[in-house]
């Protein structure tokens, strides 16, 4: 729940004051270096993963499909020399690391994105309702989000895992969405509260527009960049939970993923054995992905909040 709180803090006053009135006319806010760099690197990673899947044998993720404990090209480990058949090496069950990464990365990112989308959708509905309608609705939504935030996520995940062992793509995304809606709800509620008194909203109210129309036709468009930044922050948060769960050995074993690979590496003492490629490559890729998502989020915040831009 942590990562989007800072957005909440900044958003409230800014958008209330000038966010909806006018944009500084000088430069295009979307030409944001952080946003661009983040998007490009992430895009390249995703393209590599998808294109790579076409050219690389995906069945190499299977146990016993390759020699065991092979180091990456140009390295030597226990009398075995890395070769181009397995450029990133293999693990202790004969799985090819390159194949694991190519299959695992889009999978993890996809789950994170879908669950963040679900979370954001719920967040928009709840956040707008709570902020705009207030009163009892606000109380109920507040209660719901506080309650779910209180229960240790680990407990829920471990237990759900044992109920739905080999959760597929969408089941997993839905599971993670349970933790992905509270933060957008909270943040949007604050945004809506502050926009409620803006002139154009008041005007719409006076002219007798129905609540839904005001909420989604008048207020939503003004929040677009903000919503996208919520989406990337949410994606990064969901991927973080997903990887965390998998590192604990709780994810689905059916589809190979970066987290499961890390769990296997940790369980097999890969660090101790000096098999750095096994845990190091997935970790570096994860760090790069998280950095990109962070850059995009920060960049988008700067788009939606002119004051955050570099002076």
């Amino acid at each position: 729940m942590k990562k989007t709180d800072f957005v909440e803090n900044t958003g409230v006053e800014v958008l209330a004051e000038d966010g909806c009135k006018k944009r500084p006319p000088k430069d295009n806010p979307w030409k944001n270096s952080r946003l661009i760099i983040g998007t490009i690197i992430l895009g390249i990673l995703i393209i590599i993963a998808f294109v790579g899947q076409l050219f690389w044998d995906k069945t190499l993720v299977n146990v016993g499909s390759s020699p065991l404990n092979l180091p990456p090209v140009g390295n030597e480990y226990r009398d075995q020399i890395g070769n181009w058949a397995h450029p990133l090496g293999t693990d202790n069950s004969g799985r090819d690391i390159l194949a694991l990464v190519l299959v695992g990365l889009p999978h993890s990112l996809g789950i994170g994105f879908v669950s963040a989308t679900i979370g954001l959708t719920i967040g928009i509905i709840f956040g707008f309702s709570a902020g705009y309608l207030g009163g009892r609705v606000d109380d109920v939504i507040r209660l719901l989000s506080d309650t779910t935030m209180n229960i240790p996520a680990l407990l829920i995940l471990i237990i759900i895992q044992s109920l739905i062992p080999n959760a597929g793509f969408f089941a997993m995304a839905l599971l993670l969405a349970v933790f992905a809606w509270q933060s957008p709800t909270r943040v949007l509620r604050a945004q809506v509260l502050s926009m409620k008194h803006a002139d154009y909203v008041k005007l719409a109210q006076l002219s007798g527009s129905p609540d839904q129309e005001i909420m989604f036709k008048e207020m939503m468009p003004n929040l677009m960049p903000f919503l996208i930044s919520q989406l990337t922050a949410g994606t990064s948060y969901s991927v973080l939970i997903l990887v965390g769960v998998e590192v604990l050995g709780l994810g689905s074993q059916k589809i190979p993923s970066l987290g499961i690979t890390l769990n296997n590496a940790i369980n097999a003492s890969a660090i101790l054995r000096g098999m750095w490629w096994w845990w190091g490559i997935p970790t570096i890729i994860l760090i790069v992905v998280f950095m990109c998502l962070l850059l995009i989020t920060v960049g988008l915040d700067e788009v939606s909040n002119p004051r955050l831009r570099d002076h």
Binding site: I266, S269, L272
Partner: protein, 612 residues
């Protein structure tokens, strides 16, 4: 600024008050006790290694005089030293250093070696047993260990079952003292395994430890409420050659008792280590690092990869064997459990096909990286089991090391299954699937599951492995009345007979009023025949040669119906460090098994010699 500061301070103060209120809810003597015991140690000066630490000051023994063991489980209530509680207490030194067993099973010879007991004999019908105690045994407070203690303890079990001594109460009608060193047990029924199962170290420890009457008599009616801990009075009192010194959140420290009974009684000399420490590290990496740094002398089970890394970094670290598989075997061989009531897998032809499709050598190579051996049968391959395993081999009933995929496919096809476009067998629109349940906590079962699933996919069975927590794994296999929703397969293990096949076989067919055998729910004609053989075995003494043909007969029924598929021997790879201590048990010097969490560790401690 002022206001905010106050708010923060206020918040923190509130949280702290909250914490203090919570932690004061309980009164735990641990902290104060630790303070006292360790306080005394400060008054005595450090001794140099040359002269050795003097008696009475062993808690300051040097590294050379201390053995560090791996406490692989967590004991929670440190101030409770009641040996009957279910708190992992026994694994952190209690049964290795303090509690001595009456008898110990020798895995190599299959014999039951004496310790506190000298011998135990049964009448012809195995329903009256006479226990002869070793003369000269004393409790650590100097009192005699004698028949009165045994009678008291057994009566305490009988009065408080099933809180403690459930198995004793199940078999024992009454107990009487014949003389100070002789006790007679009158059994409820004939039991040729009474001595082995109830009064000996067999797999982990002698659950039913004898306790001193003069201390426990006040608690004869509510023994579970006795904490058995009072350092002022020297509690806990047992007969072992060590005394509890102190403990912290993750260490248990024992010091040698130079007045141990065994010296005077001429049983054995004092063990060489002056101090024993069971220490708990978080992860396998941490344990391995401690081994490499010579901070740990014996580690619980580890993986082959970690072991190789350790030996590469520290050449003083050894295993049971000096080459692959390095380890010895665990008493619980791994097998593929199949649900015999599953709509598809109730067909024994398919189970036969799985047996043919499984390449046991490949499982060993990939899942174990060579660190174990393929199973001949469902029994562990200890020296004492040799006669049964070789009889099975002679009868052509041993499991094959490699796969015969063609024969496997032919068998599946003979049952009416046809390969579909995806390369999997299909019949009546249903694909031949097997979801193999593995245990999340056990990397070994997970890796076996992965390999077996791959092997089954290769012959056209759409198999996948599923990881479940132990509880869920167990529950998934238990019956809930709807066989069609039940499990298909699971990587499972059976810990039973380490010196005779009866206990293992009984798992699949035993019990008075059962209609099907084991988790596999095996039933039918072969099962009935199998049960008859098991019933015959039940009445034979362990190791009786007359049992061998009966075992072969029973096994013929297993092979005929294939209710489960034997896979591999479980590996037990325990790294031992020879930097400070030598004469650890190894395959060349197999005086006991190299596990340091079970009660046979007494033997290791008595055998250890300082390296210098």
């Amino acid at each position: 600024m002022q206001k905010q500061k106050r708010t923060i301070t206020c918040l923190i103060a509130l949280m702290m008050i909250f914490a203090i209120v919570l932690s004061s809810c309980n009164t735990s003597p641990t902290d104060e006790v630790v303070e006292e015991t360790s306080g005394t140690s400060d008054t005595v000066g450090e001794e140099t290694a040359d002269t050795g630490t003097q008696p009475g000051n062993y808690e300051n023994a040097t590294r050379e005089e201390t053995v560090y063991f791996d406490a692989y489980v967590a004991h929670v209530d440190h101030a409770n030293w009641n040996p009957f509680i279910t708190d992992n207490l026994r694994d952190v030194g209690l049964q290795q250093a303090l509690i001595e067993p009456l008898f110990m099973l020798n895995y190599d010879t299959g014999e039951i070696d004496p310790w506190l007991g000298l011998s135990m004999e049964a009448n012809d019908t195995f329903d009256v047993w006479t226990l002869n105690l070793r003369p000269g045994v004393k409790w650590s407070d100097g009192e005699d260990f004698n028949a009165d203690d045994v009678v008291f303890t057994v009566n305490m079990f009988l009065a408080n079952t099933p809180d403690l001594g459930a198995d004793v109460a199940l078999w024992t009608e009454s107990v009487e003292k014949i003389n100070d060193l002789t006790v007679q047990f009158n059994l409820t029924d004939s039991n040729p395994r009474y001595q082995l199962d109830i009064w000996s170290f067999k797999i982990w420890g002698d659950r039913n430890s004898i306790v001193p009457e003069h201390i426990w008599n006040e608690y004869a009616d509510n023994p579970m409420e006795f904490t058995n801990y009072d350092p002022e009075q020297g509690w806990p009192v047992f007969t072992g050659p060590y005394l509890l010194s102190k403990f912290t959140e993750n260490e248990y420290i024992y010091v040698r008792n130079d007045n141990w009974w065994g010296v005077e009684a001429g049983f054995q000399d004092l063990p060489a280590p002056k101090r024993l420490i069971w220490i708990q590290y978080g992860t396998e990496e941490s344990k391995a690092a401690a081994m490499i740094a010579n901070d740990l002398d014996a580690m619980a089970n580890t993986s082959l990869g970690a072991f190789e890394a350790m030996t590469a970094a520290n050449s003083n670290i050894i295993g049971w064997e000096s080459e692959l598989p390095y380890g010895t075997i665990d008493p619980c061989p791994r097998y593929l459990s199949i649900n015999n009531e599953h709509p598809i897998w109730s067909d024994s032809t398919l189970r036969q096909a799985v047996n043919l499709a499984v390449d046991r050598e490949q499982i060993v190579t990939i899942a174990y990286e060579g660190g174990t051996s393929a199973s001949i049968s469902i029994f562990p391959q200890y020296g004492s089991m040799e006669q049964y395993n070789s009889a099975l081999e002679d009868a052509g009933l041993a499991a094959s090391k490699t796969a015969d995929t063609e024969a496997a496919k032919a068998l599946i096809e003979s049952s009416g299954w046809v390969l579909n476009a995806d390369g999997y067998y299909e019949k009546d629109g249903q694909v031949l699937t097997m979801s193999i349940l593995t245990i999340e906590e056990s990397m070994e079962t997970r890796r076996i599951g992965d390999v077996v699933a791959e092997q089954l996919r290769n012959i056209g069975i759409d198999a996948e492995s599923q990881v479940l927590s132990f509880g869920a794994w167990l529950t998934a296999q238990s019956e809930d009345g709807t066989p069609e929703d039940d499990y298909e397969g699971a990587v499972s293990f059976v810990c039973g007979g380490v010196n005779e096949p009866y206990v293992t076989l009984n798992t699949f067919g035993g019990g008075e009023d059962v209609t099907k055998g084991g988790m596999e729910r095996w039933s039918g004609e072969s099962w009935e025949a199998f049960r008859a053989s098991v019933a015959q075995l039940k009445n034979l003494a362990p190791g009786d040669a007359a049992g061998v043909p009966v075992v072969v007969e029973a096994y013929e029924n297993i092979i005929e119906d294939m209710p489960f598929v034997t896979l591999t021997q479980a590996s037990m790879l325990t790294p031992l460090n020879t930097t400070y201590w030598t004469n650890w048990p190894t395959s060349e010097n197999p005086y006991t098994i190299p596990s340091t969490w079970v009660q046979s560790t007494h033997l290791i401690i008595h055998n250890l010699q300082p390296a210098n």
